[in-house]
């Protein structure tokens, strides 16, 4: 099988030497020590591993790293810029969403992807878009509030 030798993650080129069939999640976590993306199920059922691939949310646990080569990858580690949190990260803090926080990075990545295509989603749209994510602690209503808050602050920043 072919090898992948370079990945573009959070704007930085990383050298690797992995089988193209390896899961992107495993390469991020185990080879590159980018552990913000989490393993929750390995089957694309929980969303904890979500990253952005060319701007769109992808389940990295079921994405072969070969599919991610030559595409810009954004992980949770890449959202903060010069010490400033991304508005979605800030909104999760402001709504005090987290209990254990293990689902948080995946939720945030999907939200960033959502707000890119739907800058002003309704609560129903938010819930629908995030349906593939599990928060076992049950903080769903706070996550929806955080997404709403993030959408608002991004809208205000644009105007």
């Amino acid at each position: 099988m072919s090898r992948v030798t370079e990945l573009l993650i959070n704007g930085v080129k990383h050298s690797v030497d992995v089988d193209a069939g390896a899961s992107l999640l495993s390469v991020l976590r185990d080879d590159l020590d980018l552990t913000g993306s989490k393993y929750g199920c390995g089957e694309g059922q929980c969303g904890a591993c979500t990253v952005l691939l060319a701007g769109a949310p992808r389940r990295s646990c079921i994405t072969p790293v070969g599919d991610a080569a030559r595409k810009p990858i954004t992980t949770i580690e890449g959202l903060e810029k010069d010490g400033h949190l991304h508005p979605v990260q800030q909104a999760f803090l402001d709504e005090d969403v987290m209990q254990c926080g293990y689902c948080t990075s995946g939720m945030i990545m999907t939200t960033v992807g959502l707000l890119r295509v739907r800058p002003e989603p309704t609560d129903e749209e938010i819930a629908h878009y995030l349906e593939g994510h599990i928060c076992r602690c049950g903080t769903y209503s706070r996550i929806i509030a955080a997404v709403r808050r993030a959408a608002k602050s991004m809208r205000e920043a644009r105007s």
Binding site: L93, M98, C100, C103, C137, G138
Partner: protein
């Protein structure tokens, strides 16, 4: 002991592990008793919680303490007042050479004025790191964010049984406040001595002591510099009353929030060590299977792969997780499975037929059931069942183990770091001081991570490979080889007088447990009994233990009795209830919900789209907290699907420490409870789990989450209780009662509607 098998069947590497589950649970038993009634934990030790204490606590040399931490001021919190008095002496300063036993926590103000708190409690998503920091900040007059909380590292914190039973807030919180108050007094005393003034005239605020008269100020750093002062304090030091709290009682966001939203926080499964290998364990095809033969030759030929075969344990370690997976797949094992094992289809018959002798201690009787029933005008008898369910913490079990100079260090996710240290010491025949367990804040537990399976397995692989090994369980392993919330059968019968008073109450719980088995309702004749069963599956603690099952049965049955008596369910409860706090919770929830102002009747409230709606109410008491829950459900009469539309939960856990953190716990407990109420169930057959994936085992998702309103009953006159568990107990019966109100159909099995009503 009969109870031992409930928590842990033998792990292949820890053959005598089960022995540790001894019913030594003085705290839980002692404090379960309520004034004027019989209740819950008083009936039976919490058999599903591990409570074993170590045989000895050996002192740590005082010299070493300051050597490790640096100088400053240390306060040690003792459980036993008599020892504290002896050790502290007249001056209140302790100068012994070794630390006394039975220290529960300590606090250190170093020479830079930095405050570090050491506790064996752990952060599992209940946000106790934050609320304990609030407690210390309150008394020490510093900001919560400036306090470092060192938690769950067995080499650095005092022994602690574990984080369970909603014990942290009622026990650790006041202890740390006392330690902080004592440290504050020491600092004030030092300033008074230096300034030659009466300490009573000095004040502490913002990390400094001030003399308001002379306007002199000394920071804690200045006061602590060059000192090696240790103080041992008794348990009864005065605390700031709740009404005067400035830091506690106010919302405070998760202190580690920024680390989490940036992905920087390292959960147990994120730990990485230099030269670390990745482990995999070969699982048997069924519970109870033993290894017949193993051909590991292919795996052994793989570059860098270590294969371990030790009894029934077979595992591999490799420098790369993909290679570890390949090596695992290359193993060729033959297993011998036991003959037929019980399956979920016949589970409830099995539990009834395999009940052991009921333990007298776990029973309770007053009056005469026979008399109570013969006095009754109406009688009812029903059976309720609850399925095995999985905790399914989003972070599965994970551990990184490292051996160095004969000492073993393991980073792992567990609610019982000291318990896991004991498991490791036993498995590897090491003294406990040769084992260190470090518990980074983990991806939740809900009672499901009391045990150290992954820690033991990673340590065994690391021992053989002579390199650190990381082992992260797969989701399927977590669903299969962890333990489950016990299934159960509950039989209830009661009699009612013509005016709706309950005259007799008989309640039998088979297997699921005795937590909150007693009733708060006023009933003159009661017989309540827990019946242990040799469980077909490995079972253990789950958020609120059997309080969920017992409340489901009791509060569903109360609803059935109310309908039998032709009374409103709330009115019926209040008629049979004098407990003020429980009454207040029911009334608060009902008020917020609008109970009684709109009253749907069975099957009659149909909208145009044929959605049947109903309201339900339920409530109860457990672990110091009173809860009442109202739910509104919608049942689609075509698809038979149930949706919980709206929930109001009123909760009284005494003085509220962190209102927003508490709301979060209550909201989350209700969402989690919807899973067990409506659709979560482990299916098993012949020693196999049939649904060990999220695609097959449905947990609540966004579309399942109702609008939740929380009513906090902030009792500043009552000590704070824990809140991570009890808010879950009301939701299942409230939903069941609402489904009955909507459809006229009474559902007596949890989950109630896995495929619709």
């Amino acid at each position: 002991m009969k109870s031992s098998r409930y928590l842990l069947n033998d792990h292949p590497l820890t053959p005598s592990l089960a022995r540790r589950d001894v019913a030594d649970s003085p705290l839980l038993v002692k404090e379960g008793r309520l004034e004027g009634g019989v209740v819950s934990a008083a009936l039976e030790p919490e058999r599903y919680e591990l409570n074993a204490r170590p045989a000895y606590h050996f002192g740590m040399p005082r010299r070493d303490f300051f050597k490790v931490l640096g100088g400053g001021i240390a306060v040690f919190c003792l459980l036993d007042r008599s020892i504290a008095g002896q050790e502290a002496g007249r001056s209140g300063h302790w100068s012994g050479t070794a630390l006394p036993q039975d220290i529960s926590a300590w606090l250190h103000v170093n020479e830079n004025g930095e405050v570090t708190v050491f506790t064996g409690k752990v952060e599992v998503g209940q946000n106790i790191r934050t609320s304990l920091a609030q407690a210390v900040a309150e008394e020490l007059r510093v900001t919560p964010g400036s306090i470092q909380m060192l938690m769950g590292d067995t080499d650095r914190v005092p022994f602690d049984m574990g984080t369970f039973g909603s014990r942290t807030t009622p026990t650790m919180n006041p202890q740390l406040r006392r330690a902080a108050a004592a440290a504050r007094e020491v600092l004030i005393g030092l300033a008074a001595e230096a300034w030659k003034v009466d300490p009573a005239k000095l004040t502490a605020a913002n990390g400094a002591v001030t003399d308001p008269e002379s306007r002199r100020t000394s920071s804690y750093a200045e006061l602590a510099r060059g000192r090696e002062l240790a103080k041992v304090i008794p348990a009864e030091d005065p605390l700031t009353p709740a009404a005067q709290w400035k830091v506690m009682g106010k919302p405070l966001g998760k202190l580690t929030g920024r680390e989490i939203v940036t992905g920087r926080h390292r959960y147990p499964s994120d730990i990485k060590l230099p030269e670390m290998l990745y482990g995999k364990v070969l699982r048997p095809p069924a519970f109870g299977a033993s290894l017949g033969s193993l051909d590991a030759s292919k795996a052994q030929q793989m570059q860098g792969v270590t294969v371990v075969h030790d009894g029934n344990f077979v595992g591999v370690a490799a420098p790369d997780p993909r290679l570890a997976q390949e090596a695992l797949a290359a193993l060729n094992a033959e297993w011998m499975s036991p003959p037929t094992q019980a399956s979920s289809d016949e589970l409830f018959d099995y539990l009834k037929n395999h009940a052991g002798t009921a333990d007298e201690r776990s029973g309770h009787a007053v009056g005469s059931i026979e008399k109570g029933l013969s006095d009754a005008n109406l009688r009812l008898r029903q059976t309720y069942t609850v399925a095995y369910i999985a905790h399914a913490p989003l972070e599965p079990r994970a551990a990184v183990a490292e051996w160095k100079d004969g000492k073993l260090t393991v980073w792992t996710g567990t609610q019982r770091p000291f318990g896991v240290r004991g498991e490791l010491a036993e498995a590897f025949r090491l003294p406990e001081d040769h084992v260190r367990v470090i518990m980074p804040d983990m991806g939740s537990g809900y009672g499901g991570k009391h045990s150290g399976e992954a820690a033991v397995e990673a340590a065994r692989l690391a021992q053989a490979a002579r390199r650190p090994v990381k082992l992260v369980w797969t989701r399927e392993e977590e669903f299969t080889w962890a333990y489950f919330r016990p299934a159960g059968v509950i039989e209830v019968s009661a009699g009612l007088s013509s005016d709706g008073a309950i005259t007799a109450w008989e309640f039998h719980n088979y297997n699921s447990g005795a937590a909150a088995i007693g009733t708060l309702y006023n009933i003159p004749n009661q017989r309540i009994q827990f019946h242990p069963v040799d469980s077909p599956l490995r079972q253990g603690s789950y958020r609120s233990l059997a309080a969920t099952a017992n409340h489901f049965a009791r509060e569903s049955f109360m609803d059935e009795l109310a309908h039998l008596a032709k009374m409103d369910p709330l009115e019926f409860r209040l008629k049979n209830l004098t407990d003020e706090r429980f009454r207040a919770a029911l009334q608060a929830a009902a008020e917020k919900f609008g109970w009684g102002r709109t009253k749907p009747h069975a099957g009659t409230v149909a909208t145009k789209d044929r959605i049947l709606r109903g309201f339900g109410i339920a409530g109860g008491f457990d672990k110091g907290g009173y809860v009442a829950t109202c739910a509104e459900v919608a049942v689609d009469s075509t698809t038979r699907q149930v949706r919980v539309l709206r929930v109001v939960a009123a909760f009284d856990c005494g003085a509220v420490v962190n209102p927003d953190g508490l709301r979060n716990q209550i909201e989350g407990a209700n969402v989690m409870g919807i899973g067990g109420a409506l659709f979560e169930a482990i299916q098993f057959q012949n020693g196999r789990i049939l649904n060990p994936h999220f695609a097959q085992y449905r947990v609540p998702r966004f579309s399942d989450a109702p609008a939740i309103e929380v009513v906090l009953i902030d009792r500043k006159d009552v000590p704070s209780s824990g809140a991570g568990e009890t808010p879950i107990v009301g939701i299942a019966p409230a939903i069941g009662n609402a489904i009955f109100a909507a459809t006229g159909k009474r559902l007596r099995a949890l989950p109630m509607a896995p495929k619709g009503v």
